[in-house]
Each structure stands twice: as structure tokens, then as C-alpha cells.
């Protein structure tokens, strides 16, 4: 019982930290992007205010049960992703619920949220949501391919489906990181990350110009609040996962922050520089170089 309670407490702390870290990342990146725009940018605590404000809305309308469940699924996806990733290698508090086969579960959770969201957005009924969900799902499947290939290559390379083990295998020096031991898989994975992070050129799903705001068009008040919460958690979860897979994980919280920040900056640097792809263009893109890289990585380690 005490174990469970302690785990629960640790999980709570872990989620709380990662949520705030996600918001901090968000605030920081807004500031950085603003600089590239030649602006000052919003204060770094703006994401907290936004999320508070959204929850504080006095009214909300729902279009049905699925509309209500959509954000819940999304949050479940985000939490699920995070909770099965060990955030800091060697830390009990941030070990979360990692277990030997967690990599597979995490990969499932990464896409679980999207699907839930699709249902909710679909019930919202706004054609923009529907179109964006269609775009999102097709784009998702396309970047899933290089990502899956990359993960497979890693699994083969490390003979493990446990993230903790993969991290453990990368300890002992910078050159042990996957990025150096298996650059092909890493680049395939990082391309997939670009797609996952929904930054340009892969943000057609949320594009305010092409389709106003995409799936969450009808989401408001606490529904949106849940989505915002999830966005913070899910973002950091993805980054932590990628850090664990390719950058050797983190042994303390500062290393984690630094590495995830660097990973996120990759998306940002590319995102500000390029306009967005159309859906079929991004599909074509992911099925091109990244998939080939992933395939090559798999093949190399198969051999």
C-alpha cells in the first residue's frame, strides 16, 4: 500500500514537474520565435496564464459525449506516453512506470491521443475540424513509418524494448549515444520528431491560414484547457522519449532540460525558416528520405 502511495506521489510530482516544464518550454520557445520575428515576445509565464484563463471560462458547450471524451482521450494519450517513459535515468521519482516492454506501449500511446482527438473533433462537426483530422491522421501515419523503422532499428541494435535499458546502454560517454552509434536511425527518428511536434513545415493540421486552428476548432473552455495541459505534457514526453532513445537519456533534471530543449529547438529552427507543406507534400516527404534512412538503419543492424 505504501509502495503504491509512494509511487502515486512520485507520479504526481513527476507529472507536475513535466507539465510545468512543458509550459516553460512553450513560453521559452515563444520568446525565441518572437526574436526571430524581430519582436519582444510574450512573457515567459504566458502559457500558465493562458491555461488558467481557459479553465476559468464560465461557460462551455459540448456537442456530445465524444466531443467531451476527445480531450480526455488526448490527455490520456499524453499522460500515458509520459508515464511509461523513465524521464531521468537513475531517479526513482522520475522513473515513472517504465518496464521492460515500455517502448511498445509508449509508441502506442503517442498515437492513441490523436485518434481520440479525431473522434472528439469529428463530433464537433465543424468541417474545418474534420478536414484537419483527416490531414492529421494521414500525416501521422506517414511520419509513423520512419519513426517505427527507427525504433525497430534501435530495438535491434540494443536488443531491448525497454527504454531504461536503451538509455543504460548509452551511458558512459557521449560517443555511446545512439546519435553516434546509429546516426541513420537517429535522423529518421528526428525527422519524425519534426512531424510530431507540429511545427512548420508540418503544421498544416493546425494552420490558422489554411484551416482555422484545425481539430480543436470547436474546443473551448475546459475542453481546450485539457488540450493545453496535454500539449505541455505530451510535448515534454515526446522530447524525453527522443532524448532517451537518441541522446543518451539524462541522469539529472538539468541534463534532461538541456537535451530536450535542444531537441525542441530543432523543430523551432526548422519551423521558423520554412512555410508549411501541404498534406500530400509532407506525406511524400516522410515516405522519402526519412523512411529510407529508417529502412537503411534497420537493414544495417539486421545484417
Amino acid at each position: 500500500m505504501a509502495d503504491i502511495l509512494r509511487t502515486a506521489l512520485y507520479l504526481f510530482i513527476s507529472v507536475f514537474v513535466i507539465l510545468n516544464y512543458g509550459l516553460l518550454l512553450n513560453g521559452l520557445v515563444r520568446k525565441i520565435v518572437a526574436r526571430a520575428h524581430g519582436r519582444v515576445g510574450p512573457p515567459i509565464w504566458q502559457p500558465w496564464l493562458d491555461i488558467l484563463k481557459t479553465y476559468a471560462k464560465r461557460s462551455a458547450i459540448s456537442h456530445g459525449v465524444m466531443f467531451f471524451l476527445g480531450p480526455i482521450f488526448r490527455l490520456a494519450g499524453g499522460l500515458g506516453t509520459y508515464l511509461f517513459i523513465p524521464a531521468i535515468y537513475g531517479s526513482v521519482m522520475f522513473a515513472n512506470l517504465s518496464f521492460s516492454g515500455d517502448l511498445l506501449l509508449v509508441m502506442y500511446f503517442i498515437f492513441f491521443g490523436q485518434l481520440g482527438m479525431a473522434l472528439g473533433a469529428g463530433e464537433g462537426g465543424h468541417p474545418n475540424s474534420a478536414i484537419a483530422v483527416g490531414r492529421g491522421l494521414s500525416q501521422m501515419t506517414s511520419f509513423e513509418l520512419p519513426f517505427a523503422l527507427s525504433v525497430i532499428a534501435l530495438a535491434i541494435q540494443y536488443h531491448s524494448l525497454s527504454i531504461t535499458e536503451i538509455v543504460a546502454a548509452q551511458q558512459g560517454g557521449i560517443l555511446n549515444w545512439t546519435i553516434f552509434t546509429n546516426p541513420l536511425a537517429t535522423f529518421a527518428g528526428l525527422f519524425a520528431l519534426l512531424g510530431m511536434n507540429m511545427h512548420s513545415p508540418f503544421d498544416i493540421v493546425l494552420a490558422p491560414q489554411e484551416v482555422p486552428i484545425g481539430p480543436p476548432t470547436e474546443m473551448q473552455s475546459s475542453f481546450l484547457g485539457i488540450l493545453q495541459t496535454n500539449r505541455a505534457i505530451f510535448l515534454s514526453a515526446k522530447l524525453v522519449l527522443f532524448m532517451n532513445l537518441y541522446l543518451g537519456g539524462a541522469t539529472n533534471i538539468f541534463a534532461m532540460m538541456l537535451k530536450t530543449f535542444m531537441l525542441y529547438m530543432l523543430s523551432v529552427v526548422v519551423g521558423v525558416s520554412f512555410p508549411r507543406f501541404r498534406t500530400e507534400q509532407s506525406i511524400r516527404f516522410f515516405l522519402g528520405v526519412p523512411t529510407l534512412l529508417g529502412l537503411a538503419a534497420v537493414i544495417i543492424f539486421m545484417l
Binding site: E210, V272, S273, F274, R276, F277, R278, T279
Partner: protein, 389 residues
Amino acid sequence: MFTPDRSKYPEIVDGKAVIDLDSGKYLKLWQGPQHPGVTGNMSLELIVCGDEVVDCKTHVGYLHRGFEKLMERRKFIQNFPIVCRICVPEPDTNEYLYAAAVEEVAGIKIPEQAKWLRTLNMEMSRLTSYLMWIGGHAGAFGLGPIGQWAVTHRDYMLDLFEEWTGGRVYHMYMIPGGVRNILPDGFDRRLEDTLQKIEKLMSEIEKVMLNNAVFKMRAVGLGIITKDMIDRYGVVGPIARAAGMKRDVRKNSPYLMYEHLDFDIITGTKSDAYERLLVRFREMFQSIDLIRQIMKYIDNSKNIHTKLPNVLHWKIPAGETYVKAESTRGEYGYFVVTDGSELPRRVYVRGPSYSHAVALLEDLIINVNIADVAGLMTSLHTYPPEIER
């Protein structure tokens, strides 16, 4: 002759495509009234099949203020402040054309210096409008920074307008008979500073936007307008020029002081969204060059205004005329009919994007990916306030 490829329609009955919305194959999508891709409000009623547009109806009228009616019950001078509101992002062309039309029917000759100042105003306004446009165009494809930079530089131009005319957006400067004020002291220096800033910006835009792989993938081949479509749809301005037509009112029927300026008509060949961007981009440099040329002729000591009859009861003899000028979007014209009274009988405003916005867009948009609709619209450079007036 261009006819859009409507092969994706399910069936053609009596030469008309029938789209059964209930079949589940099609989705009706409303874009607008407010859409980030358009300056102003208009809406597109799109029928989409998957990601592609199979039919489009444009709906305008969200910004209709009844200008032409209002002008019929205002005195000639009272119309001068309101015409600039017809086209919000590019007000000065309206001011010039109204003033020029009134001067022509009233038989007023304006001093040469006033013409120079007007020319300067028009070119600065062209540059300002293009800056706003290029920001919007980049934004329509998701290239945010260009919009941020370009609108900021547009603001630097507005600062100049503000110190020159006293107004930021609406300048109300080209009053019938001439202009309202001379240039302030030190204006030429600040203008040159701003032009240099804009030139720097343009080099940055060239690197980030024009030489951008993704941008090219989106814009090249988008919305190709063939030569025979130009006349068929009444297309004017940079769009016609991007199709290789040497059509520029400034050169073809010179007005103000353009015949004394040294410039060429910039044309393109490929006539897609990217080519139109290139033409406009080069025209921005052309504008900067023209502004520099014009500044050599500005002399603050010269007369800038012809004394008008008392404007409170100014009657203009019966007559009619059509004057036109090259705006950023092409031939902008005013058709003015007077009947000898204190009020104009009819003022018709010929906005250049009128035909782009409705007739051309509706056909050009067929088979375009909905993600590109915004880019296509900005590429046609429509300003709904001037369509609806």
C-alpha cells in the same frame, strides 16, 4: 480559351456539373468572411472532395458601405476625404483618381509641383501596399517571419506619411486642385533611411522567401493564368504582367509625371503564383528607384495648389470622364458623371481586383488543394473593400 478541368464532377447534366452533397463524397466548406489570406472580408463557398476544391462560389458584400450612393449626396470637396476609405490598404490611388477626375471635368490644371508630390505619394503608397501584401502572401503559406518584418517596414513608411500628411493610414492629401502640404524639413533624409531599411529587408526576404525550397514547392505552378485568360477575365496589373503582357497604365497611358521617369514594365513568363511574386518583388525595387528619381524634382518653394472656387458651393459643369491609374493590383479607375450641380451625378469606382476576386477566382480555384486557397487568393491580390465599396 480556358475552361477549368471539372473532370472530377460526378455527372454533367445539361452541361452543368451536379454535385450531390448528400452523397458523402463532397463537403461544403465556408472560408471566410474573415480569412487571414484576404485583406478584408469575403467568403468562399467551397465544395471540396478530399483536399481538392471542385466548386467555388464567392460571396462578397461584407464590407459594402454604399460609397457610390454616399458620394452622390456629398459635395465635391466632401467626397475627397471619404474616397480613400474605399480601399483600406491602398487609399492614395483613390484620392488621386477622384481628384484627377474632378479636376478634369471642372477644367482645373494643377501645378507641376503638385503633380510631383502626387507621384511621390503614389509610389510610396505602392511600396507600402506591396509590403503589406508580401507579408500576407508569406503568411498564407505559413511563413510567419516575413509578415512580421514586412508589416513593420510598412509601418516605417506610414511614419513618413504621417509626418508628411498628418495621417497614418488615411492620408487625405491629394485634394482637388493640388496637394495639401509641402514636404516637411529633413523628409528626404528620413525617406532615404527608410528606403535603405526596406532594401535590406528585401534582401532578407529574397533569402528567406524567394529562395525557399518549401515555398517554391507550394507556389510554383499554383494558379497558372494563361495569356488568353487575361482579356477573357479582364485581368490587369502584375498578374497580367506575370503572364508576359506589357500592361502598365503608368507606361501605356502616362499620367502625373510618369513620362518623365525612367522605368520599364516588368514582366514574367510562367504566370504562376511564384512568378507573380517575382514580378511584384521586382516592382518593389522599381518603386524604390522611382521614389529616388522623384525626390530629385521635389522643390518645396514651388506652388502646390491651384485655388479652387469656394468649395462649399462648388458646381462643376455637366460632363463625364474616366481616369485611371496603376495601383498595386493594376488598372484602378474612376468614372465620374457630373450634371452641373454641386453634387456629382455618379461616381463609379473600377476596382482592379473586382474581376480577380469573383470571376477569375471561381474558375482558377477548381482542383486546387484547399491548403493553397489562401495562397491563391493572396497571389491574386484582392482587396474586398474595393470590390464592394
